[in-house]
């Protein structure tokens, strides 16, 4: 059963990376970024295209850079010019971006499955008597390091402090001379980097490589972000783990869940999300907006 636990942890760590991207962008610029999944796919695509030329680690850097630059371009050219528009319009803007990017990326991927050339390939190691793909273990380690680094930056760096201040009270932050535009820019950049990192593991074993189905997988980071609370960094981590565990256990107990229909594992995270939101509409760690009348 430890295999399921590790699968859940590993999936959860990767979902947390993606969910963190949603949360950072939402906190900094109040955009619910539907194009975030496209950043993940773009990162994976660039890594897959360049790994023979640059070697795996070079390709990973290229993929991360591509996702980050893409996020930056979307923020600067499309989101920023309408930053005073209603939040709904901002969200729909990212949907327009997503439609274009996904159409092009999925067309380029075609029906093939593109390997990303992870050096650990499909190797597996035996832990407590069960076979666990190395990819899952590397994913946990890297995710812990990246998230740790992010938390340090978020807690101590000038950007992190400024960003938290801005999320607390935008007007006061701006009056104090904080540059909200720059805060938002850095947030999108970081979201892009997180997307590029997550892409490596979402396409690794047991998944054979980059396929158009990645788009659907990335969508499961949405429940992760909402379960934790769209404006909560710790929430993204907890939400990621909840979604990862839910998925892993739903797959492990598939035969017992047969009465709910096949493929219930993919729907489970969404069901959990609805239950959480019925009880706590702002998510587990989200800030409740109260207003006295």
């Amino acid at each position: 059963m430890s295999e399921t636990l590790i699968t859940g942890l590993s999936l959860g760590a990767v979902y947390a990376l993606v969910a963190l991207g949603f949360v950072v962008v939402f906190k900094a610029s109040e955009v619910l970024n539907f194009a975030h999944g496209s950043f993940v796919i773009a990162g994976a695509y660039v890594t897959a295209r360049t790994h023979e030329l640059l070697g795996f680690y070079g390709a990973v850097l290229a993929g991360i850079a591509a996702a980050a630059v893409l996020a930056l371009v979307v923020e600067r050219l499309l989101v920023r010019p309408i930053r005073d528009a209603p939040v709904i319009s901002l969200a729909i803007m990212t949907i327009g971006v997503e439609v274009i990017l996904n159409t092009e990326l999925i067309r380029r991927i075609g029906v093939d499955i593109m390997p990303l050339g992870q050096p650990w390939g499909a190797d597996a190691v035996s832990i407590l008597g069960s076979n666990v793909p190395v990819n899952r273990i590397v994913a946990v380690i890297v995710a812990v390091i990246v998230i740790g680094a992010f938390l340090l930056v978020f807690r101590f760096s000038p950007w992190g402090v400024a960003m938290r201040a801005a999320a607390e009270d935008r007007e006061t932050a701006e009056l104090l001379g904080l540059n909200l535009g720059r805060i938002s820019m850095v947030a999108w950049l970081i979201a892009g980097i997180l997307a590029g990192v997550a892409a490596i593991f979402l396409t690794g074993a047991p998944t054979p490589g980059l396929a158009p189905t990645l788009a659907a997988v990335v969508l499961r980071a949405f429940p992760a972000a909402l379960i934790g609370g769209l404006d909560s960094v710790p929430g993204a981590l907890v939400g990621g783990l909840i979604v990862g565990m839910t998925e892993a256990y739903a797959v492990a107990f598939q035969s017992e869940l047969e009465f709910l229909g096949r493929g219930i594992g993919e729907v489970m995270p969404f069901l959990v999300m609805i239950i959480v939101l019925v009880i706590r509409p702002q998510g587990l760690f989200g800030r409740k907006e109260t207003a006295r009348v």
């Binding site: 499309l78 209603p86 327009g96 439609v99 274009i100 067309r107 949405f222 909402l226 729907v267 609805i274």
Partner: protein, 432 residues
């Protein structure tokens, strides 16, 4: 605001406080004669089109009508009230599934037997709408409590649940192969397979022709209903919830209740759209109701203009018609092959770009362009007179309380001539 606002909130529901971005009732754009003339012309064109166009275009028209009905409902929720929803395919799927099960016959398929109740199609259509509405009510603990963006992400869950149900509830839906939709019939008029279809002016009223008229009739009803809602007290309350929920609750709008109700209403529209969609395609299959449809819907209401009923219809025509038109002109679009693109890709690019362009350059969409054009047609001196001395000339249009339907269309941003936040005439009662 005066004390009466607080002590007697019920009477103040529709009255926006100064500063809320809600325009007071104003004249619609364009000269007085423009609207009736255009309406008459449109009605005439709609009536005679089946006499001239081929079945292909009529069927496309019916499909557009189906999506337009759904889009009007979504626009009430998202455009007017500011509650983002991606769940429309779920409610459409539910409406379509209910129709197919209620009107269908029990049958054997390669995946096993399917259930059918053999209801008359019209009753089954009502059944589909009712069930979709019930599902909307069931979701209201979530839909009423969530703020706009949260609802958008949460409603995504319904799309996946819907797909899962369509795929696995094989006895109802026919599983991943789908299931044919029974032909519609009403008042003894069968839409398909009639031995001798009625002939009008030498044109046989076959399936496509009848569906065209059905689509037009349902669409007109759906538009009329939505416009009336928007013009009413409820509509103004919904706009206020979008503009400022706090102000809304201060003036006595039960915000949560209204959010739940408008979600219910939009799911009813979606259910009706789903039944029409099933009739238009002729079958239901899970992949017809996936997330792509959610995105199509948002594209429709943004391109048409958030909050505008007519815009939703125009947007539906654009987003639904575009791939079909492109496909029709595929031979002329030879450069696509060279680039490795299909017309479906091109259509996606165009409508993605259209969303972005509208949001960047024309936030009120096609409806906004229409208003600009109509305002330009209207003679300027006339307009000055109306503004300065309402009622002086005794024209019915000169009264500021004339609530033409287009006044109800706006979500409040940027119509030329509107002073943002200007109190409508109704607020006059506030000052002694």
């Amino acid at each position: 605001m005066s004390e009466t606002t607080i002590t007697a909130p019920e009477n103040e529901v529709g009255k926006p406080p100064a500063g809320a971005r809600i325009p007071g009732p104003t004249r619609g754009p364009g000269p007085r004669w423009l609207r009736p003339v255009l309406l008459g012309l449109t009605a005439l064109v709609v009536l005679v089109i089946p006499l001239y166009l081929e079945a292909y275009w009529l069927q496309l028209g019916f499909l557009i009508a189906a999506l337009a009905v759904g889009a009007i409902g979504l626009n009430l929720l998202t455009g007017t009230t500011g509650q983002l929803s991606l769940a429309h395919p779920f409610f459409m799927g539910l409406g379509a599934l209910s129709y197919v099960v209620l009107a269908g016959e029990p049958a054997e398929t390669s995946l096993g037997p399917v259930i059918g109740f053999n209801w008359p199609p019209f009753l089954a259509m009502i059944g589909g709408v009712v069930l979709a509405g019930l599902a909307g009510l069931l979701f209201s603990p979530v839909s009423a409590r969530l703020r706009g963006l949260y609802l958008g992400a949460a409603s995504l869950a319904l799309v996946f649940i819907g797909l899962h149900v369509l795929n696995s509830a094989q006895p109802l839906s026919g599983g991943y192969n789908g299931r044919p939709a029974p032909e519609f019939s009403i008042l003894g008029l069968s839409f398909g397979g009639a031995e001798e279809p009625p002939v009008v002016l030498g044109v046989a009223m076959g399936r496509a022709e009848l569906q065209w008229y059905l689509g037009a009739a349902v669409l007109v009803l759906a538009m009329w209903f939505a416009k009336n809602i928007l013009k009413s007290r409820v509509g103004r309350a919904l706009k206020l919830i979008d503009g400022d929920p706090l102000a809304a609750s201060v003036v006595g709008v039960p915000v949560m209740q209204y959010k739940g109700k408008v979600f219910f209403l939009s799911s009813v529209y979606a259910g009706l759209a789903g039944v029409m969609y099933a009739l238009a395609i002729g079958s239901i299959a899970p992949q017809s109701f996936d997330m792509g449809l959610s995105l199509d819907y948002l594209a429709i209401i943004v391109i048409g203009g958030l909050g505008s009923v007519g815009g939703a219809v125009a947007g539906a025509a654009f987003v639904t018609g575009l791939p079909q038109v492109l496909q029709n002109f595929a031979p002329q679009l030879g450069f696509l092959d060279a680039l490795g693109l299909t017309t479906a890709h091109l259509a996606n690019f165009i409508y993605g770009a259209a969303i972005i362009a509208v949001l960047l350059f024309k936030p009120d969409g096609l409806a906004g362009i229409w208003r600009d054009v109509a305002s330009a047609v209207r003679r300027r001196p006339n307009r000055q007179a109306t503004r300065v001395s309402p009622g002086d000339r005794g024209l019915p249009g000169a009264s500021p309380t004339d609530d033409s339907a287009d006044a109800a269309d706006t979500t409040g941003h940027g119509r030329p001539g509107d002073i943002p936040g200007a109190p409508g005439p109704s607020t006059a009662t506030d000052s002694p």
